[in-house]
Amino acid sequence: MLLSPIAAVGRSVLHILAMIGQVVIFAVQTVVHFVRPPFYLREFFQSLLSIGFFSLPVVGLTAFFTGGALALQIYSGGARFNAEAVVPQIVAIGMIRELGPVLVGLMIAARVTSSIAAEIATMKVTEQIDALVTLSTHPMKYLTAPRVMAATLVVPLLVGIGDIIGIYGGFLVGTSRLGFNTAAYLQNTADFIQATDIISSLTKGAVFGFIAALMGCYYGMNSGRGAQGVGRATKLSVVAAAVMILAANYVLTEVFFSA
């Protein structure tokens, strides 16, 4: 009786450790399937299209409005200590180092992770995964590897586009609402960006893309039965992907920018 709360904590810890282990094994298996034939190119290119191209509108709009809002915030905050002039630099560094990758990662988690998890979970519930096996096709090779590889390659591109659109949003607000000179704004932005900023941004994009697609596939493949199982898999995949993206963001920021 006295030990039951401790036992409950122990059970939870064991459950979490077991799940981490399963995810790691799933990730390793996925990476192994990247390099071992057969390769399903059609599924890979379809995934590139659905994850990359069709995410452009949501990524663009999110980055644009965030860049604009960031410019307003920095201008207003900077005014407290007469530092309004730093808007171009802070918008650039903020978008490229942090907001661009994180916002794109979270948007991908919302749009792509949920869609992958729901699709694969439905395939599992309707025995399509079993059908793949009976048709001599490895489900991880056919479903997981192309999606995860496509996300890992295309999300950095989305992050790059998001960074540019976000900076453009800040530029528009800065020049039209806050009275910045167009040429000076662009010059300040360009002068302040370093290669490390861009490399860190794209690296974060690749890691976040990998996490987002992996979580969708993992929860889809391990979903429970029926509509409730599909719903639960979808919800858990988005939550796990979002938390892991934010945790990975901290780790990568430490790696790139800690002194």
């Binding site: 399509q128 009976t134 001599s136």
Partner: protein, 248 residues
């Protein structure tokens, strides 16, 4: 020949198979009957390796099903799933020719499409259906497409999981006839699981009844009605009273 020796399988505390022994001779059509939740699907999936038995041995022509090289082993099988299990993202002909478009049986796309259309014809579907998607077909048509996919690569062994579930009696009859014709025509070994007695009489050479995790009775379909086995009698006549407990 498919043989199951003392096959056990449990899911947590639920012991589904408790020592199944069954022989399906080559070229014969075996139908496994039994109530819902008695482990018929688990039995079938164990042969294919979709479920790993806890204990026992399953052999196909003397080869251990668990140790066989997966691709070569599965290339011998075709399977019709209960709900069709067609891939939503692929067109009908791509579903049928799935195995012919990839892996060891890969053929040129045009040849695979031709074979798919021929198999669709074989199950009574017009070539116009080939470019539609599964969601555009009725349940009966999806079952036919599933059947066409199961036979597309001319397998030696075909499994049918509840082939008439969810279909009206006329469509059930059509599917039963098709299955029988195809199995005889191809000379394939067939294993069907169902609780539809009209399917049993239409499809089976041999019948096995699974109850309480073991094969309760097995024999030729012609002997089924005069078996004298109380479990089988209760099941085939659909009686509530008898040795099989029914929840009311």
């Amino acid at each position: 020949m498919i043989e199951l020796f003392d096959v056990h399988k449990a899911f947590g505390p639920n012991k589904v198979l408790q020592g199944v022994n069954l022989t399906i001779p080559k070229g014969e059509s075996m139908v496994i009957i039994g109530g819902s939740g008695t482990g018929k699907s688990v039995c079938l999936k164990s042969v294919l390796g979709l479920v790993t038995p806890d204990k026992g041995l399953i052999t196909v022509d003397g080869q251990d099903a668990q140790r066989a090289e997966r691709d070569a082993f599965l290339a011998r099988f075709g399977m019709l799933f209960q709900g069709g299990a067609l891939f939503d993202s692929l067109s009908i002909w791509e579903n049928v020719a799935f195995r012919l478009l990839r892996g060891s049986l890969k053929r040129p796309k045009s040849e695979a499409r031709e074979i798919a259309i021929e198999k669709l014809r074989r199950v009574g579907l017009k070539p116009e259906v080939a470019d539609l998607f599964p969601s555009e077909l009725s349940g009966g048509m999806q079952k036919r497409v599933g059947l066409a996919r199961a036979i597309a690569a001319e397998p030696e062994i075909i499994f049918f999981d509840e082939p008439t579930t969810g279909l009206d009696p006329i469509m059930s009859g059509v599917i039963n006839e098709l299955i029988r014709e195809i199995v005889v025509e191809m000379g394939a070994t067939a294993m069907t699981i169902t609780h539809d007695m009209s399917s049993v009489r239409a499809i089976a050479d041999q019948v096995a009844m699974l109850h309480d995790g073991v094969i309760q009775w097995t024999g030729p379909v012609g002997d089924m009605d005069a078996s004298g086995d109380p479990y089988l009698d209760q099941f085939i006549h659909g009686r509530a009273d008898g040795p099989i407990e029914s929840v009311r």
